[in-house]
Symmetry: C2
Subunit: 458 residues, 2 copies
């Protein structure tokens, strides 16, 4: 049967297979499982850093699995893997479901993984129904979305969107994490050498021009508390908040802890502590977030006042301008704090900012959002509550996703499902099998609806 020949009721009846999805998802987590938090066989986190040995293993599985589902698989220069089940029409770009299989060093089993697995389950439903789509349906695994090992998140969808130069990405060096610690003896690897090492440096140029998409849909856990605390089932994501990532260095002076009075110190770590406290105050007052994820103090000795501190600063807010306003105020405040620390010796601390990443606020594509909303309402219709639409919420994403970059080139939108306590980037991150299946049914219907719209309206 052809997708455009289905009735509206038939589309609304398309549902993911909950058990099969859960089985596949946890099967894929056998590569790189992390910290155990419960007694169940799947009660562990994940530690699958991008381009690690475990990442290679799950990539091999992804290719094997999608090939069985009649997909053509290509790998580009960033190791992005595109698996496409061809449609009836050979001359049009496919509609994609995409996300990522890499995780944080102490991550969970759902962030990114659910998105890719929802794509595989979508292919399985289509395949077992013998459904033929008009355009192809693809699943993409984007490389290094997390930015945990190679410190630019969503870097490979960024290269695909031609927003980040390939050379910058290829030359990007890994950073130390709790799960990987490059050293002088084992020098930090670049993305390119890591891609080569696991044999995922593809030959297809990484660009939306070489691997075009009709649209990009992404299913993700919310990673926040809104859906779960309201008892809602699906978030229709219409936008992504703005954020900026900085690396800051504070230059003070190494001195002896036992013999140097506070007045005689230029203690870079004390200045850092004051800055971090200040950053939360300023961000909160402006309705934004600020966070420090990485801090390093040198030289690193119990009895030496640190003369050099470097740290990351992540500022987020609903609008690009709000983030800029927090940044502007912090630049002023940090200078004041630095100037105060060390003024007693006439050698005050000094602070330097480097912008590592700038992601303006994103609005998703109306047509994709509509497909998601219709599908969400259809999926929850049978939930047995009096007002099923109340289970669907319009929502903004706090986190960046590969969809931020795809949205710059092709119609894009996202679907959120609840996760326990809103917790993410943590081994105990959890999304129930029911919620995984609900979200997957929504994305399944959404890509079919999008495929139908393209060619019925044409």
């Amino acid at each position: 049967m052809l997708s455009t020949e289905l009735s509206e009721a038939e589309v609304s009846a398309l549902m993911a297979n909950k058990e099969r999805l859960a089985k596949d998802l946890h099967h894929s987590c056998r590569w790189g499982y992390g910290v155990r938090w419960g007694d169940g066989s799947t009660d562990t986190g994940m530690q699958r850093l991008s381009l690690s040995h475990e990442d290679k293993q799950v990539r091999d599985w992804f290719i094997e699995t999608t090939r069985v589902l009649k997909c053509n698989v290509t790998v580009d220069e960033m190791g992005n893997i595109f698996a496409v089940r061809p449609g009836r029409r050979k001359d049009v770009p496919p509609t994609f479901i995409g996300s990522h299989l890499d995780t944080q060093p102490t991550g969970g089993r759902y962030d990114g993984i659910l998105g890719v697995l929802s794509g595989i389950e979508t292919l399985k439903v289509i395949d077992e129904m013998g459904l033929e789509t008009e355009g192809g349906i693809g699943v993409v695994n984007w490389t290094n979305e997390e930015g945990a090992r190679f410190p630019i998140s969503m870097i490979s969808s960024g290269v695909w969107a031609e927003c980040i130069p390939l050379s910058r990405a290829h030359n990007l060096k890994e950073v130390p994490t709790v799960a990987s610690l490059p050293t002088a003896s084992s020098a930090p690897e670049t993305m390119k050498s890591a891609l080569e090492k696991i044999k995922y440096l593809g030959t297809v140029p990484c660009s939306y021009k070489e691997t075009p998409m009709a649209a990009h849909f992404e299913l993700h856990i919310e990673q926040g508390p809104h859906l779960i605390s309201a008892g809602q089932r699906v978030g229709v994501v219409t936008a992504v908040q703005a954020y900026r990532w900085f690396r800051l260095n504070i230059f003070g002076r190494d001195t002896h802890t036992g013999t140097t009075s506070f007045e005689h110190r230029a203690d870079a770590l004390y200045a850092f502590a004051r800055m971090m406290v200040c950053a939360r105050e300023v961000a909160a007052a402006k309705g934004c977030l600020s966070s420090v994820g990485i801090v390093e103090a040198k030289p690193g000795s119990v009895n030496t006042v640190p003369g050099l501190v470097s740290f990351t600063l992540d500022i987020r807010g609903p609008e690009t301008e709000m983030v800029a306003s927090v940044e502007a105020e912090l630049r002023k405040e940090f200078d004041v704090i630095a100037a105060e620390e060390g003024k007693g010796i006439g050698k005050p601390c000094r602070v330097e900012w480097t912008l590592d990443f700038d992601s303006p606020a994103v609005k998703f594509h109306e047509s994709c959002i509509n497909c998601v909303r219709q599908s969400a309402e259809a999926v929850v219709a049978g939930a047995g509550v009096s007002e099923p639409k109340s289970l669907v919420r319009t929502i903004m994403s706090g986190a960046g996703h590969d969809s931020v970059f795809t949205s710059k080139r092709v119609p894009t939108s996202m679907i959120f499902v609840p996760c326990r306590d809103g917790l993410s980037h943590h081994p105990e991150e959890y999304c129930s099998a029911d919620d995984c299946a609900t979200g997957t049914s929504v994305i399944l219907q959404a890509v079919i609806r999008y495929d139908r719209k393209r060619f019925v309206s044409a």
Copy 2:
């Protein structure tokens, strides 16, 4: 001539050779020189971590040099090197000059090094005069005084004083510093294996019973601003302030930086920042010092709120009770801070303290202090000022030294000389050749005076 046959005026005329001392000191710094800060050939810091390859080289030089000066050299189980020039009497313990040749990862050319070199210069003066002492005169190089690589400072004088068990010291593992980064691939070394590797695991039991001393004198740069800002030349050190070193862990929760509101966070690093700010306030109010030298935040990712922070806390004060009082208040305050961070999710942060090192306030030995004071006044008498005694100051040490441990078993005292800006544990640490020589002349006279006192009064 015999030391006890010298006149008082002859003792007061004993002086170090400034040029020879400077030459020897900088010669010894060829092994492990660090960051360059000026154009002069000796304008670098030092980076000679304990039991490193560079430390082995300078140890070899120390033994070679003292053997030429007719010393018997022994090495104990902690790698402490004792070089003794025998006196007339064979049945009495020698009077020692001691300090250390290891440095901080970004240290200078004087901390510890000047102390050992003042001992060598003392031997050279005695040797060229053909002076015979009653008891022997020894120079000791104590292992790992800094506690930078192996994180217990003064550990080897501590074992010698039988205050620290040998097994604890031998099993102590190195920690990462800017100059050494043990990893999974090159596992952290223990002190014992590091001693073996550089062939300084001696056979003599490390104990004041096996290597007895009549007294221990130590010359050191002040590492603080008092002498230099008052224009004074010599500090007669009568006491060492108390200090305690702790390692603290803060347990919070890893979460996503973009999607977790401040209310929903248990941000261990934010709690740390507040604690560090608080610690300075509390310590300052009580006339004490508090410092954080090492901090580590995990998992270490730009977009993950750190769920685990560990850090060192160094509290110092003039009296043991004052340090205890700061500790008691911080234990309360830190609990309050931890309880506030994460209370919104009912999972507040938690803080754990471990005491790594406890050094009560020390009072030095009256008889040794008197030898130092007489010698200091004699050495500055010719300085050409109207009140030469005003160049000598009675002073308390802010830092710990090997003399803290020797003072528990044998009469001990110390001598301070000024250093530029009071700066120490920094590549630009500097003590002029004049000040080095003044201090060395003081220690030279002090050991001769002590030797005479022992046998004239007997």
